[in-house]
Amino acid sequence: MLLLGAAVGAEVLRDGLYGEPAPAQSVLYIRSGNFLKRASVSNASLLADTYWIRAVQYYGGTHRSKASIKSYDLLYPLLDIVTTLDPDFTIVYRFGAIFLAERYPDGPGRPDLSVALLQKGIRADPLKWRYEQDLGFIYYWYLHDYGRAAAAFERGANVPGAPWWMRSLAAVMFSTGGDRRTSRALWQQLRETADNEWLRNNAAWRLAQLDALDQIDQLETIVRTWAGRTGAPPDSWQTLVRAGWLRGEPLDPTGTPYVLDAGTGRVGVRADSRLFPLPVEPGA
């Protein structure tokens, strides 16, 4: 015990004097899911779980990293391996679809890979209407392709057991394309049908962004009205508060004050708000 204590002490001393070793870079030595499936010798599901944990850790680690440049290069290969090892692993398709499509720095910004992953899921289980729901959502929110979104919702609606609102979504896509009410309905559906906390939190975050966009619209209306009466936008929120137009400095849903551009009269979220940057809305 004494010797072990001495060894630990020596290690602590070395780390203190010369610094701790740098963490290993993420490397994916084997990229073939089919090879891994054979190598697992009837334990492919367990190996899929291992790669799934790795994919979650990889995404979470990269997302939270303070590095100036974030690389999500291994996210798709990891998810591809998991879904080859265990084609019925539903959450992987749904998780992957959303987080592959997220714009940098929240994700790699690759909705094309989201589509590829979801199509793989649909091939594996054509009766899972949720894959079509997610596919429609990716086309709608990230790719702004309302025709394909409508087609995906329509296909999903035709799957036995699909909920009635899938057909409504298809109809809305065909008729109105992108608007905020549709976006809100889609994110709400996603939050309610999410398989895990990450997806639910992400949907809640998107809904808060949509609330912020609603509030920004209202604030910009006030600013425009002020500018119409005085000839120029207000120089700060305080001007509107003093004039009794606002009760106080307006806050976004996370409690961070909105930013007012006194030159243009545009309102936005502050760069340190959790809602920044706001999404480019479908139909915008």
């Binding site: 779980d49 959450i91 998780f95 398989d195 895990n196």
Partner: protein, 268 residues
Amino acid sequence: MRVIGTIAISVFKESVRDKVLYNLVLFAVLLIGASYLLGQLTAGQDMKIIKDLGLSATSIFGLFIAVFIGIGLVWKEVERRSIYSVLSKPITRVQFILGKYAGLVLTLAVNLAVMTVALYAVLGAMMLLGPPSLVLVLDAPPLDPRLLLAVALIFVQLALVTALALFFSTFSSPILSAVFTFGLYVVGQFNADLKQFDQVVNSSAAAWLARGLYYVLPNLAPFDIKALVVHGRPVSTGYVLLTAGYGVVYVTFVLVAAMLVFARRDFK
């Protein structure tokens, strides 16, 4: 029958004395540790992963027990020369082989039973103590009784591997027996490829040989229904019964072969 039972009980007691059942402690620690850690490491699907881990560990631990004890069953008696005193008693060689086999299968059965209870206990604890979202996202209920189907086929598969290990142990050294048994285990997972060999080669003779090997070698892949059960996919009773029946017939074939080889051995 009594003689076979006595030998079987002595094999079971010996495995208990050799601390074989200690693997159960490792299994329990693995499951309980994983059930705690998974909550921190994954984004949901904890129950699915625990089921995969429990079933795979049951299969892997059982495989090691079947092979490493199976290969020494006969060899140890010969090496210690205790075979002379055993066979000098009113015990036939057939009874000896069957008793040894039954003893190890009993050890495996006890092992699998305890592991299954532990798996259900951990799943039950997760269901009671974990957040409700753990249960909502599952393809199959947490305490799905169909897990028993997967365990039952794992048991039959292990019984077949035990028979193979015992067969090799009747004429070969433990190292060679282990190599042969593990070799057949791996081949048995992939021998479906042999059936489609005609798509790879042009020679019809080679294709027929491969097809023959497909039927002769033990086909172990069909015993694996772990993923289907965990995902709540249908597995018909007919499939389970036919696969188990195949296992029983193959075990009988291997045991008869082991008895024939052992009967011809000269211990003088």
